[in-house]
Symmetry: C2
Subunit: 263 residues, 2 copies
């Protein structure tokens, strides 16, 4: 069965995109078939995966004009098992445009179900779908929460990150009650962890206490190699595979896969 | 004349809130009368200013229920010249709720004009209004761009930050054409600058080349004292006034004030 993850946290700059693309790359390097869906109008996931979104039709067409997902998915160069559905620039207007639409929250879910069924029928079943979200709890993120069964929440080891969690949990509860009973937070990852600061350790301990089951306790270190990689249109997994950041993401990806096989 | 600034950048986590509250605090410490408007549903500006938003009516009431701004503005403890209009939690739903409203983009502008006129009439004129925005280009940020005459864009010294600028400039152009001819980017501030990395220096040089007039070339260093301050409900200006981060923000605030007096 294909595992569908949404990477969500409305707090900005906490490492959603970085976590989505590096987990996807690590899983794909391990031989699993992975699709990244970029739902952020900024298209940062496309940048990190080297996907040129200027030329391509993207997720706006799928959500607003009912284009088939199979029409927009492209292969990611350098990865035999990794594909991407790009975010086109019009996606910025999708939130306002979609407000009056029929089943506005379930458009992604319907498009993805159709796509996964096609892949199953042609024997090219996907193992993972990873959806990168913008920093908001608007219709794009709601679509992602409705389409997924698992939520991966990156938590930056900074003070503001904890504040935003209540709002995220409240929104998730509404989605569970009205749109998708199955979705749950299955995975929490600590990002930009600087072990030298008291603040980072305080935040990490706080998360260990409140989310012991969901947390994968392998903090992703703050590492300049991670933030340099996108400027070379790469993930850190290929940019510097033996760096502390890449090793941490590989370990987290292995734990995600291990947890899934037990379910 | 009251200067109205919007602090905007749809890229998440680039230092919008940190810049808004520290510039506001620095200007207020210099004797200028300042109001911070928190338009981000996360309410991070309220946290940094020690304003308890749970109990208070906030910006949702002003935008959606036409509550007077003077009814929601509160004084910030410890600063004789600093006030804040808090973001209430319902603000998260404002973007969707306001789509069908009459003059949905100008609600903040009308509320602010009324408030500034009252203050003028009672002899308590404000010198600065600083509006903190969420990480998106939706109706909340559009309201802020319509209400302001100046835009302050914080640019984090990381690769993704440059990518988002085109979208911001495009949106600003639309606002200038249809909603507010006066608004312009007057100020750019470099944030989280780590002088040891090539990436930070590349981004800074790129901004110096493309925005020489708007840039205040005093990069705000990445400094743990800055990110610790909100956990004590303070800005770094009071938490550690002699730290490199506070000194940099004070220098930038002085330059903003100097440029204004020349206009
Ligand atoms: N572990 C890390 N070490 C150093 N830099 C990092 C790390 N993780 C992410 N970054 C950098 O921090 C910035 C924010 O990360 P990223 O863009 O992935 O966050 P995001 O949550 O997707 O942001 P947004 O809310 O805008 O979508 C980026 O410039 C990224 O390169
Ligand atoms: N110069 C700095 N040095 C170190 N940490 C910083 C600096 N500026 C901001 N931070 C920290 O980085 C994080 C992001 O900053 P901030 O929340 O101000 O960004 P933002 O653009 O307002 O985010 P959002 O897009 O969610 O509104 C916060 O945890 C903040 O404390
Ligand atoms: Mg992102
Ligand atoms: Mg903010």
């Amino acid at each position: 069965k294909t595992r569908v993850f949404t990477v969500a946290n409305q707090k900005g700059g906490v490492g959603k995109t970085t976590t989505a693309v590096n987990i996807a790359a690590a899983l794909a390097m391990g031989g699993l078939k992975v699709l990244v869906i970029d739902l952020d109008p900024q298209g940062n996931a496309c940048t990190a995966l080297g996907v040129d979104r200027e030329e391509l039709a993207g997720m706006y067409e799928v959500l607003v004009n009912e284009q088939l997902l199979s029409q927009v998915v492209v292969k990611v160069a350098g990865f035999p098992n990794l594909e991407c559905a790009p975010a086109d620039i019009e996606l910025a207007g999708a939130e306002i445009n979609m407000v009056g639409f029929v089943s506005r929250e379930s458009r992604l879910k319907l498009a993805l179900e159709k796509f996964l069924a096609e892949r199953e029928a042609t024997g090219t079943r996907l193992d993972y779908v990873i959806i990168d979200c913008p920093p908001s709890l608007g219709l794009l993120t709601i679509n992602a929460l409705t389409a997924a069964e698992e939520v991966l929440v990156p938590i930056q080891c900074e003070y503001y990150s904890l504040e935003g969690l209540t709002l995220l949990l409240k929104t998730l509860q509404q989605v569970q009650q009205m749109l998708n009973q199955k979705v749950r937070i299955s995975t929490i990852v600590l990002t930009m962890f600087d072990s030298r600061t008291r603040l980072a350790n305080d935040v990490a301990n706080n998360v260990r206490e409140h989310f012991p089951n969901e947390l994968i306790d392998v903090p992703i270190p703050r590492a300049v190699r991670i933030s340099e990689a996108p400027s070379f249109n790469q993930t850190v997994m290929t940019y510097d595979a033996s760096s502390p950041g890449a090793v941490a993401y590989m370990t987290v990806a292995r734990e995600i896969a291990r947890r899934g096989s037990g379910e």
